[in-house]
């Protein structure tokens, strides 16, 4: 009886998942549809005569934008880890005074609307000449990830066994040596989780891209898709093909890194 019940639940689960993922399927479907079939009524449910013309358009015009996004994503990851890992160490293991307040600030920082940050950055960048620059976008994008990263590192590092740190101390390691040779290697999984999300958020960012990098030569893929839609609303197969390509990091994250995501989420759940 149990087995039959489980089978029935699996079938229902597949149905729910299919419904939920229908828009994703639709994106694929449209990306492979021939331009002449785009306006069929009813639309083609399946790309019976698939075409790669949409993808050809992507590779013809979107490669620089993909490269820019890659660069911004990697820069954001680097900045995030460099700022957040030592801070997590100070908060979790060095008894930084005022860490309660700092924790509070980090949580509140995540609640500030992106549009407000974008205006503040615009006002600053316009004077510094940082508008339309990759560096400027990296700094702005890292504001999405850094509070999260510090909180994640802190939660993980607080759980590092005290014996390990004691042993380093006995061997004569100072705070810096302990950090580099013990804490950082042990926190590898947290670093992977932080890096993955920092990259994904920077890659997906639209608000900062559309405000701080509007007129640049190097625009990230999100903004490129947006402008593409604005410029040619008829080529939806090409738009959807770009969208598919822009989704690749998310897919990679889901397939390769699921256990790191889980590790990151459970890292903080000591108290649960």
């Amino acid at each position: 009886m149990n087995a039959r019940r489980a089978w029935w639940k699996t079938a229902l689960g597949v149905l729910f998942t299919a419904l939920m993922l229908f828009p994703v399927y639709w994106m694929f479907n449209v990306s492979l549809t021939q331009t002449s079939d785009l306006r069929n009524s009813p639309p083609n449910w399946f790309p019976w005569a698939p075409t790669l013309e949409g993808y050809q358009a992507v590779f013809a015009s979107q490669l620089p934008a993909l490269g820019t996004s890659l660069l911004i994503g990697l820069g954001t990851v680097l900045l995030t880890v460099v700022v957040a890992a030592p801070a997590g160490y100070a908060l979790a293991l060095l008894n930084l005074r005022g860490r309660g307040t700092l924790n509070f600030i980090l949580i509140v920082a995540q609640m500030i609307p992106g549009v407000v940050m974008a205006m503040g950055f615009y006002a600053i960048y316009v004077r510094l000449g940082l508008l339309n620059s990759v560096g400027g976008l990296i700094i702005a994008d890292s504001t999405i990830a850094i509070p999260f990263a510090v909180l994640l590192y802190t939660a993980f590092m607080a759980g590092i066994p005290k014996e390990l740190l004691q042993a380093a101390k006995v061997d004569g390691a100072g705070a810096w040596r302990t950090f580099v040779s013990v804490v950082l290697p042990v926190s590898r999984n947290s670093t992977i989780t932080v890096a993955l999300f920092a990259f994904l958020w920077a890659w997906s960012d639209f608000i900062f891209a559309s405000t701080l990098s509007r007129n640049g030569d190097l625009i990230p893929i999100t903004l490129s898709i947006y402008q593409y839609i604005g410029n040619n609303t008829t080529q939806w197969n090409a738009i959807m093909a770009t969208a598919v390509v822009a989704s690749i990091p998310a897919a990679v994250l889901l397939i390769l890194a699921q256990r790191y995501v889980a590790a990151g989420v459970t890292a903080g759940s000591v108290k649960d």
Binding site: L91, R97, N103, A158, L200, I207, I225, W236, I239
Partner: protein, 327 residues
């Protein structure tokens, strides 16, 4: 909405972090190095973060307040001198006919989004609670909408809801209905962007509520089962009450994160037709960046108002979380 994952983790980290906010335990004092020595090291390691927060959080926020009490035009921006106007920008936005509409749109968008996301998320969490074949895999697939760049999901929804060629209208026509101009008619545009946003938010609710469910001991359900309680009864007498703290946190966080949504709405409708999908966040974005003539001062005023609203709910959330810890 991507930041919602930060929320999910931050909630948990916040739990651990806030737990550490009690005064330092006596243990470090017995270490060989005096507390003062290690305090300098601590400050050294935190220095990059402190500098970062000062330059890239506090400074932009300060600039934003400054924008809102001056009369900034693009020229004033470049030349650096703008007239101080006090609270005039705030008076202007409160007096604007758009204010009431933006507030109502924000309320509708936010409340309907989180209510429906939460209900569907909870139903799915309960469904996935008992492990069955493929359940882990399917649950992972449910994360997809959460991980996709918003431009991707928003433009896909825009095409699906397209009046003439969208799949949604095609289905409606197939069942004998009449075409709905989802994104171009003032009556349905807000509903349409809300539907897309609900879809985006389901994974977040599912993940948090599912992890909340894992903390309810299986024995409680077994006991209820022995007492003859059916699934429906079990849900209302066990799941729902025991999940209440987690639910409250999910709803409040959802609220804070939905209030600041710009991308979904802007990509699908740019706040239109007219101003029918203009929320506070969209209003601010449009004034500053959405038109040919940027008007930063009122935009900053709306933005600051949005911060205040978000912080009210945010602090409520923190308070709730703290109370739960002390239990």
């Amino acid at each position: 909405m991507t930041t919602t994952l930060a929320a999910a983790t931050a909630r948990r980290d916040g739990t651990a972090g806030a737990g550490g906010s009690t005064p330092p335990a006596p243990a470090p004092r017995s270490r060989r190095r005096g507390p003062r020595g290690s305090q300098w090291a601590a400050i050294g390691f935190a220095a990059p973060l402190l500098a970062y927060l000062a330059f890239f959080y506090a400074f932009p926020l300060w600039r934003n307040i400054e924008l809102s009490v001056h009369d900034y035009t693009i020229r004033a921006f470049v030349q650096g001198e703008a007239d101080f106007v006090g609270l005039q920008n705030y008076a202007q936005i409160f007096g604007s006919p758009l204010f009431g509409q933006a507030l109502a749109n924000t309320a509708f968008f936010t409340l309907v989004s989180i209510a429906v996301q939460f209900s569907i998320g909870l139903a799915l969490a309960v469904f996935f609670r008992g492990a069955f074949r493929l359940s882990g895999f399917l649950r992972a697939l449910f994360l997809v909408p959460w991980l996709l760049p918003l431009i991707v999901s928003a433009s896909t929804w825009a095409w699906m809801l397209n009046s003439e060629n969208g799949i949604v209208n095609s289905l409606i026509r197939a069942f004998g209905g009449t075409q709905i101009n989802w994104l171009t008619s003032p009556e349905t545009a807000l509903l349409a962007v809300t539907i897309a946003n609900i879809w985006l938010g389901i994974p977040f609710n599912l993940v948090i509520l599912y992890s909340g469910l894992q903390n309810i001991p299986e024995e409680v359900y077994e006991a209820a089962s022995l007492d003859g309680a059916g699934p429906w009864r079990q849900f209302w007498s066990i799941t729902f009450p025991l999940l209440r703290p987690v639910s409250a946190i999910t709803l409040l966080l959802g609220l804070v994160y939905t209030l600041k949504v710009v991308d979904v709405i802007w990509i699908m409708t740019t706040g239109g037709p007219g101003t029918t999908t203009t929320t506070l966040a969209i209003w601010s974005y449009r004034e500053a960046f959405g038109t040919g003539q940027p008007d930063f001062s009122p935009a900053a005023a709306v933005g600051n108002l949005l911060i205040v609203i978000a912080l009210v709910f945010g602090l409520l959330y923190l308070q709730l979380q703290r109370r739960q810890e002390n239990r």
